[in-house]
Subunit: 280 residues, 2 copies
């Protein structure tokens, strides 16, 4: 039996048995591989790190999209940076208020691979409300003229192409690209083993937004199974979401209004990461 193994850290590995390799190529930016697994169905890895798969993808995509969109009173224009698999886009267009989603993915090969091998994730990329831009999100955000209500930063790790998406300059540009009631969310890795990423994102986002908040979800194929998301918001408080009446219309398998609230209940060892930053 063949196995796909991710080196989650130097001392921690997750392995899944592989039925067949569907794609194994190098793009301009990274190594792109797609494998068919027994445990998690079809699975996408970039530079050896699992990005998404058929079985647990709904958790990450629902939680990165619905938490910010339900926090906002009337999200109409959404920008997704990264997220070339289309999963976040698919969740955004479930909201009737959303008129336009711009997806900005730097690596066209990722979009192509997902259209081909993940039809259930990439299924809304051709929705008439969606525009796909193969472009650098760092440059794209600097040139925004028509502001967004919500910006979703669905990036890979802060190494390689994802690096520049974790800087204070970038978060400042996101704030400028947002309408007066706008808000953003970024995936910020595992509090257990990437506490420095949580802290780095917090330092940057709190320098650009008056309201910040951290929330959690369980993603089995990400290291430790505990994943964090950091929000920056101009006026709306994600712990008192004003759009809960719209949540009932969403077809979901992880997100509910109760899960939304629960995701902000941080264990003390997680809350300590932010307190460390504040103490400096």
């Amino acid at each position: 039996m063949d196995w796909f193994t991710e080196n989650q850290t130097d001392n921690l590995r997750l392995s899944v048995s592989v039925k067949q390799t569907l794609l194994d190529t190098r793009s301009e930016f990274q190594h792109v591989s797609v494998v068919e697994t027994e445990q998690y169905g079809t699975l996408l890895a970039l530079d050896g790190f699992i990005q998404t798969n058929d079985v647990d993808e709904f958790v990450y995509h629902e939680m990165i999209a619905h938490v910010p969109l339900i926090t906002h009173s009337n999200p109409r224009r959404v920008l997704v940076i990264g997220g070339g698999d289309g999963g976040a886009v698919r969740e955004c267009v479930k909201h009737a208020s959303v008129e336009r989603v711009d997806l900005v993915e730097i690596d066209g090969r990722v979009i192509d691979a997902c259209r081909r091998f993940f039809p259930n994730i990439a299924c809304e990329l051709d929705n008439p409300r969606v525009r796909v831009h193969v472009a650098d999100g760092i440059r794209f955000i600097q040139e925004v003229t028509d502001p967004y209500d919500v910006v979703i930063i669905d990036s890979s790790e802060p190494v390689g192409p994802g690096e520049g998406l974790f800087t204070p300059e970038f978060y400042g540009n996101v704030a400028r690209a947002l309408a007066p009631e706008g808000l953003m969310v970024a995936q910020t890795e595992s509090p257990w083993i990437n506490g420095h990423v949580v802290q780095r994102a917090y330092r940057g986002i709190r320098s650009a937004f008056p309201l910040t908040a951290l929330y959690l979800a369980n993603v089995p194929t990400y290291p430790t199974g505990m994943w964090s998301f950091t929000m920056g918001s101009k006026v709306h408080n994600p712990r008192r979401p004003v759009g809960l009446d719209r949540a009932a219309a969403l077809q979901t398998r992880y997100y509910t209004p109760e899960v939304h609230q629960a995701a902000f209940a941080l264990p003390p060892f997680v809350a300590a990461l932010w307190r460390e930053v504040e103490a400096k």
Copy 2:
């Protein structure tokens, strides 16, 4: 570099690098191994399945103990079945109301190994309020004459020595061993890959208790990182815990009153496991 690998399923493996093997033996009941790892410190495995480790043990032990104890109005007598590492016991004696904790572990070798290699977990086994019984929990529960306020079933998987701890007969005996306001909790595996265990425990526990509830916690070294606990209760509702005023006195790294409430917010794909049982 040596690696300890757990076959979480036939198609899923977690591996941690090993600095040294501290114990590798076969008891009357199971294979007992203790390894020193880089990622998770000292780690205990029974029959190849990770049971506990220095780094993330606080999550499981706090959540299996404080959720039932804070749900109860005045827990004085507690029974822990399994849990030979002493972690659940350590959390129970943090409660000033608790006068007596009986620990019933079938495998004395597990207790010995934990006293020796996990001093921070087994540290309360010699507390004067604690009695350690090397005995079969299934038989012990049948012979209880002085009822308990809380029973904690801190078992291994429902194969091998843990098997008989998941039957309706056993849960019925637990109910009989509990005082009129008593309640129980059992660890019930991962909803992602052991949904049948969640369902089996639910069927058995609801046949013995008027109130049942399922809650979740993130344990990185358990398969999928999402772990479930099932409660059975005679009168106290764990979603409206009456002991929250006592929670402030607990020194914890995962449990808080807010985390207690949040743990019962089930994603729809988890709640569906119980609905399937009810539909039958």
